[in-house]
């Protein structure tokens, strides 16, 4: 084991967990994490929230302090870009001309932002929001009274809008579809978030077609196809991500909307595992292949991948869950709602700030979006993991204890 070398490419949530789990699982060889950013793995969710508004320092974002990796004998090769993966010789070739040999490889390359190639997108003051560096640059453009235009009414866009309102900025969110969060929630939940953002002073424009970003050197306005011009001191584009599969593809691994892995996180190469946002994997609860963009998946699949590398096969079968904090709204999501044919509400979505939306396909409970309803979230997370469904009538009755609603 002593001459073995597990190399993890990508240095975010999945990498931090994979390295830790490898050590805890008894991997006796060398472990290296190779990452392009100069900082050890950090929590990304606070980037659009506490870090953006200046409530957290970058040190507080670290998943583990640098000393943890030293003590665990995990080598951090930061600021290091991998250019190619040579599977025949089991070696990574680096951008700077160096190379790293491996005996086992883990790809935790994550996802990259989807770019919007509209006129003016290279102007200063136009940003994406994925990495610490993105937010560091955004922070140079924000401030009370300034105007931000956010392109994309998904979770990143809405969280950024909430943070910028907190800073006293004028905020417009442009969504290309007829409602915000359209791809991920029911119309009731979209309407709820539109209402609350409106109450908080955000100008939400749906069915928005962005024509160009305007300015000389630095962005000053966003022009829409209908002729509207919105003044902007900065623009943040949040229109989704794409799995970072270039390295895997160039190396000839099976890639299909993510790096294809089996239930043990193994790629088509027996010496290479993959975990997190970059993978396309099978989920036995929903009986289909998925690509998930979430901390939960990064963390849990990394544990599976680490077990595999330690020679202990444990299949991946975790229930997906997510969260999003905006203003005083704590949204917790358990399960996947895609494909639902019915939504049951518990509490009111058209007034107040606390309700849960349960998603059904036929008689089967698929998921819950719980807003300021931690009890409903926890109960559904447990029930779905146990393969239970629920009685929609009981769920809809706020006077009935949620625990009474589940059906084996």
């Amino acid at each position: 084991m002593g001459s073995e070398h597990a190399v993890i490419v990508g240095a975010s949530h999945a990498a931090a967990q994979l390295a830790t789990s490898l050590r805890q699982g008894g991997w006796a060889g060398k472990i290296s994490i190779v990452g392009a950013e100069a900082i050890p793995p950090y929590h990304r969710p606070p980037l659009s929230k506490a870090y953006l508004v200046g409530e957290k320092h970058s040190d507080e974002l670290l998943i583990r302090p640098a000393t943890f990796y030293e003590k665990s004998d995990i080598d951090l090769a930061l600021g290091t870009r991998v250019s190619t993966l040579d599977r025949a010789n089991k070696i990574l070739r680096l951008h700077d001309g160096g190379s790293i040999p491996y005996t086992k490889l883990a790809l935790t390359t994550g996802a990259s932002v989807r770019k919007l190639a509209i006129p003016g997108h290279t102007l200063d003051g136009v940003f994406y929001l994925r990495d610490l560096n993105d937010v560091n640059r955004i922070r140079g453009f924000i401030g009370a009274g300034k105007s931000a235009v956010i392109i994309g009414g998904g979770y990143i866009g809405l969280e950024t809008a909430a943070s910028m309102r907190k800073l006293g900025m004028n905020v417009t969110v442009l969504e290309a579809l007829p409602r915000v969060l359209q791809r991920v929630t029911a119309p009731e939940v979209s309407a709820f978030y539109s209402r609350v953002h409106g109450e908080q002073g955000v100008n939400i424009v749906t069915d928005a077609a962005v024509e160009s970003l305007q300015g000389e050197g630095v962005v000053t306005a966003v022009k829409l196809a209908d002729g509207t011009s919105l003044g902007a001191d900065l623009v943040v584009i949040g229109v989704g991500v794409l799995p970072a599969t270039e390295l895997a593809e160039m190396a000839g691994l099976a890639v299909d909307n993510g790096i294809v892995v089996d239930e043990f996180a193994r790629t088509s190469d027996p010496d290479i595992v993959a975990a997190g946002d970059c993978t396309n994997h099978y989920n036995p609860i929903y009986a289909r292949r998925l690509r998930l963009e979430s901390v939960q998946n990064a963390t849990d699949q990394a544990k599976t991948a680490a077990s595999t590398l330690c020679g202990k096969l444990e299949s991946y079968h975790a229930l997906p869950w997510f969260w999003s904090d905006q203003y005083d709204l704590k949204l917790q999501i358990a399960g996947l709602s895609q494909g639902f044919d019915r939504v049951v509400l518990r509490g009111a979505s058209d007034s107040g700030r606390s309700f849960a939306a349960f998603y059904f396909l036929g008689d089967r409970l698929l998921a819950v979006d719980a807003v300021n309803r931690p009890k409903e979230f926890m109960a559904v997370r447990r029930a779905l993991a146990a393969g239970q469904s629920a009685d929609p009538v009981k769920l809809a009755d706020d006077t009935v204890d949620i625990q009474q609603a589940f059906i084996q």
């Binding site: 302090p65 943890f68 963390t299 300021n372 931690p374 009890k375």
Partner: protein, 106 residues
């Protein structure tokens, strides 16, 4: 720096010194204490940093707020002294704190 003792389900103990102002969750994750997963990183969103505060310390660590309490209702094997460690901030007053960890978080 306050001393915290984590006792795992199998009885093994880990003593760690942490700076005041650190959360109990970070005290565990920064030192690689197994048994605290802390998947959400301290957002009080996942309930995977569940711990049992030693009875002698319950008065000093305070009690869970409503959100935390609702989450705690659904952790595995909840007890009256259950807390989410991300919601406890270590202070000089907590020097010597003893917490026990559950067998499983989820």
């Amino acid at each position: 720096m306050p001393l915290i003792t984590f006792i795992s389900d199998n009885g093994s103990e880990r003593e760690v010194h942490v700076a005041s102002g650190t959360t109990l969750m970070h005290a565990a994750t920064d030192n690689g204490v197994p048994g605290i997963l802390a998947d959400c990183g301290g957002a009080c969103s996942c309930a995977t940093c569940h711990c049992y505060v030693d009875e002698a310390w319950v008065a000093k660590t305070g009690t869970a707020d409503e959100v935390e309490a609702q989450m705690l209702d659904f952790v595995l094997e909840p007890q009256p002294n259950s807390r989410l460690s991300c919601q406890i901030v270590v202070t000089d007053e907590l020097d010597g704190l003893v917490v026990r960890l559950p067998k499983n978080q989820i």
